[in-house]
Symmetry: C2
Subunit: 287 residues, 2 copies
């Protein structure tokens, strides 16, 4: 990308990618905090979910997703997917030549600021196995107790469209959260973009004294602050567009997006995974 002064960056879109639809919860947060920013979103719905795959595979997918977003010359790339974030964004930062924001560190920071007590983390199998939240919390406070719980059924439960009051949702949540309830955590990080859709039910089970940390919301706040600090916010007070790309059926994406969004997409378009995998940016460095 070379170096660019802030005048050039202001009007550029923010690029956001996720394994599927979940990252739209982060887009919703961004849209309410910085409504003037244009957003280009890539949901890799053909290869969703990332959370049950190995970190090597997730890293390769994330690199391809980010390379696709570079076509739109974004001022910033947001790794909205917790699993992709937990697989490590340093390689993305090195290769993309633009700022890359993940959702792990903002979530960890928000939790540490909320409580002096132990911190609970729930996430996908891959996110929890990576230990990324634990590391991020311990970098901020090396003594902090962290209790983690993988919750593999929550993503499919949300994608199936079950309501938080559904007895199966409550049964599954009770099963996953019982260990964390016993640990008397001071805050609980919702370490997956799908989990805010179950926040009501999770909050009821954990009780009113345990604040829930929405990682995507924490990342959106940090992004808003970063854009302002660096003088690269879009000067428009509102009216940014949301253009979405998906690797699976765009009609299906548009239909399901409403559940996650909070902001309607202006445009949804298909891009094949074969196209993502054959991007010239990647040929020399990742294969």
């Amino acid at each position: 990308m070379g170096t660019l002064d802030s005048d050039n960056l202001r009007d550029r879109p923010i690029g956001v990618f996720d394994s599927g639809l979940g990252g739209l919860t982060v887009v919703g947060e961004l849209a309410s905090l910085v409504p003037g920013e244009d957003i280009v979103y890539l949901g890799d719905s053909a290869r969703v979910p990332y959370g049950i795959k190995s970190l090597d595979t997730v890293r390769r997918f994330a690199m391809e997703d980010a390379a696709f977003l570079l076509r739109f010359s974004p001022k910033l790339i947001v790794v909205a997917c917790n699993t992709a974030s937990s697989a490590g964004v340093e390689p993305l930062r090195r290769r993309c030549g633009v700022k890359v924001v993940d959702v792990i560190r903002p979530g960890a920071l928000a939790a540490v600021e909320l409580t002096d007590g132990a911190i609970g983390v729930i996430g996908t199998e891959a996110t929890i196995a990576s230990g990324a939240y634990r590391r991020a919390i311990r970098e901020i406070d090396p003594q902090r107790e962290v209790y983690s719980q993988a919750c593999p059924l929550l993503v499919p439960i949300v994608e199936e469209g079950r309501e938080p009051s559904d007895p199966i949702v409550l049964h599954v949540l009770t099963d996953y959260l019982s260990r964390l309830q016993r640990r008397r955590c001071g805050a609980l990080i919702l370490g997956c973009t799908h989990y805010p859709l179950l926040a009501g039910a999770i909050g009821k089970l954990m009780g009113p004294d345990i604040p829930l940390v929405n990682s995507g919301q924490a990342a959106a706040k940090l992004i808003g602050q970063k854009l302002a600090d660096e003088g690269i916010s879009n000067p428009r007070p509102s009216g940014g567009y949301l253009h979405c790309y998906t690797t699976d059926n765009p009609q299906r994406f548009a239909r399901l997006a409403e559940r996650f969004g909070g902001r309607a997409a202006d445009h949804v378009e298909y891009v094949g995974t074969d196209e993502l995998e054959s991007q010239p940016q990647l040929t020399n460095e990742t294969r």
Copy 2:
């Protein structure tokens, strides 16, 4: 492939593909019915599951999976994945130049032979939405009543390793099966390779009068018969190898395979989805 006489075909392996590990239940059935046959298996674990994706995407993945298996000059390709089967195997048959067996028609046929009553079908969201089982049953018996139920949580439940006696498994199954129970079906097709692992619990809920049809088992029987009829069975009475390829981590594949198998893999190797997507066989016809 050109034409080949049966002498040439006898020693060739059977190629089997699936979206992930589930197809190993079909391999297990094949291994006990025709233990002398060599098997090359491809599990597309990097893009699993297929059952929540659009049929167009599933068709493209299936074509890539089949093209990969052609490298091993198989005598037959088995589409072990119900979702890939339900997306239609005619394009595979036309392009592969070898016999292609899917799991839908064998399952439908077995169910029609078992009962004169209504037939229940459970499967993934994409399999049920495709209507493939209903069509296959009605082709055999145009008047037959068919009741279908998508069960999106069952695959993640099996992959999480929950036992059939787990209260959550029973709760979810009760939720999905209640409508089929009321319909008084004469047989129930387990229309997904993962479901045989829950057969005990499903059988208890449906009651002893409702036989369960394992589509993979039905397909394996048909394959054994087909090989014998055409004189292309491997003459060895036993000792066939099982070579597996996976698009995700091979160690993880080998570890989880035990749960599905019934036959240990002699060899597990990685093949990238980027390699699958750049196969020359496909360049002219599918892109």
